[in-house]
Amino acid sequence: MSTLLDIRQLSKTFHSGKGSVSALQNINLAVKEGEFITVIGPSGCGKSTLLKIVAGLDVEYDGSVKLNDRDVTGPGIEKGFIFQEPRLFPWLTVEKNIAADLSLHKPEIRKKVDELIELVRLKGFEKSYPRELSGGMAQRVAIARALLRNPKVLLLDEPFGALDAFTRAHMQEVLLDIWQQNKTTMIFVTHDIDEAVFLANRIVILKPRPGTVQKIVPVELLFPRKKSSAAFQELRFKVIGEFEKIEELELVDNGAGI
C-alpha cells in the first residue's frame, strides 16, 4: 500500500494578543492508503487542530502536509470531514442532505445515494427531516454525505463524542463496516481509549503543550474485535501506560516550574 497522506515537520502556533501558544510541534506521520488511524490524547494536545490542518480548514502552519503528493491548500471533497455535531441542513430531507449540492434527478447520484442510505442503515428515513432523527442517525447521514463524494480520506473529529455509550458502540461497528466495504482511509480523532483501540490499525498518541507525538501504537488484532478479549485489554493497558507517562512528565515539568 502506498502512502496517501504525508505530514512532515508540521508545527502550528496560535498567536493572540497575550502572546503565542505552540499547539503542534514537529509532527511527522505517514498514512497509507486504506489505513484506519486513530488520534488520541488529553484535551489541549492539538488533535483537533491537526485534523483541521489535514482537512484544509486551517492553512496557517509550518511544515508540509501532502495528500497524494500534493500540498493541502484548502478544504475539498477529497478530504471528507465529519464534525463533532452532524451539521446537517435542517431544511433538507435525509436523502437531499446526502446529495447536498448535487441533484437527485441524476440517475447516477440517485443510485449512489440509495446505496449509501443502505450502507449507513437509514432505509425508511430517506424523507425524514433532521429534527426527526436521533443523534446517531444524524451523524450517519453526515457520514453518507461525505462518502457520496468518494473522499480519498475521511477525517472524523470526535464524531461519536456526544452519543450515549450504546449508540456509540453501534456507530463504531457501522463505521468499521463502511471502512471494510469502501476501503476509505480514515483518520479518527477521539479521547476515548476503548474507541481508539477498537477501530485502529495504528493509534497515534499525542501529548500536550506543545502537541507532539508521544508514541504510535500499531494494533494488529483481527476484526471483528472483542472489547473483552485479553489481547484487547493488553493493548488498552499499553495505551493507558503511555498516558501515565505523559502525566508523570507533566508533574515533573510543573515541579520544576515551582
Partner: protein
Amino acid sequence: MSNRAEMLVQPIRRTKERKSSWSGLKWKARLNDSMIGAILPVMIVMVWQLAGKLGLISTFFLPTPAMILESFKEMILSGELAVNLSISIQRAAAGFAIGGSLGLLFGLLVGFSRKAEHTLDPSFQMLRMVPHLALAPLIILWFGFGETSKVFIIANGAFFPMYINTFAGIRSVDNRLFDVAGVLEFSRFKQITRLILPAALPNILLGVRLSLAVSWLGLVVAELIGSQSGIGFLINIGKQNSTTEVIFVGVLIFAIVGKLFDSFVRLLERRWLHWRDSYKG
C-alpha cells in the same frame, strides 16, 4: 447488532405513526382552535348590540353591529364597496410590489457584501426613522394627489421591514454550515442557492409579512390625504356625512382584508418552513 439497530430506530417510528393517525383529526382540531379564537369577538359584539338596543349608548357615535351590517349590505349591493376595495388592494399591491422587491434586493445586496453594507446601511437606517406622515406632505408636493404619490407612500413603508429582515436573515446563517459547504466544495452559486437563501427564508418571509402589513397601514395614510376612491376615501366620506356606520365598515374591511393577507403568508410559512423545529406552544 441488528437488534441494536432496531432499538435505535423504533422510538422514532412510533412518533411517526402517532403523527399520521393524528392528521385525520387535524381539521377538527383546527376548527376547534378557530372557535376558541371567536369566543371573545362574538361576546363583545353581543354585548355591544344589546347596549345599543337598550339605549345605553348613542347609536350616532357607536352604531350597533346590526346597523353596521345593514350599511355593509347596502354598500355591497350598490357595488360601491367592491370598486373601492379593488382600488385599495391595487394600490397596496403596487406599493408592496415596488417597496418589497426593492427591500428584498437591497437586503440581499447589503447582506452579501460588506462594502454595500458600509455604503448603504447607515443611510437606510436614517431614512427608516422618518415617519410616513412626515414624508406625506413632501411627496404630495412633488407628485400631486395622483396615484404616484399614494403608491410612493406605501412603497416607502413596505421597503424597510423587507430590507431589514432580509439583511438580518442572510447575516444569521450558521457559520458552521459554511464550513460544511467548504468541505463539500459548494460553488459560490450553490452556496447562495443551497445554503444562504434557504437559511434566510424564515426571516425573508417574516419580512414579507411585516411589509404587507405596513403596506396595508400605509394605504390609510395615503387615502386619507386627498383621494377620490378607495376604502380610506369611504371612511373620509363617512366622516364628512357623519355616517358612523360607513366609517365602521371601512375599519372592518381594513381589519378583515389585512388579516386575510397575513393568513396567506402564514400559510406559506407553514408550507415552506415545516422543517423548523421550534416551540409551537
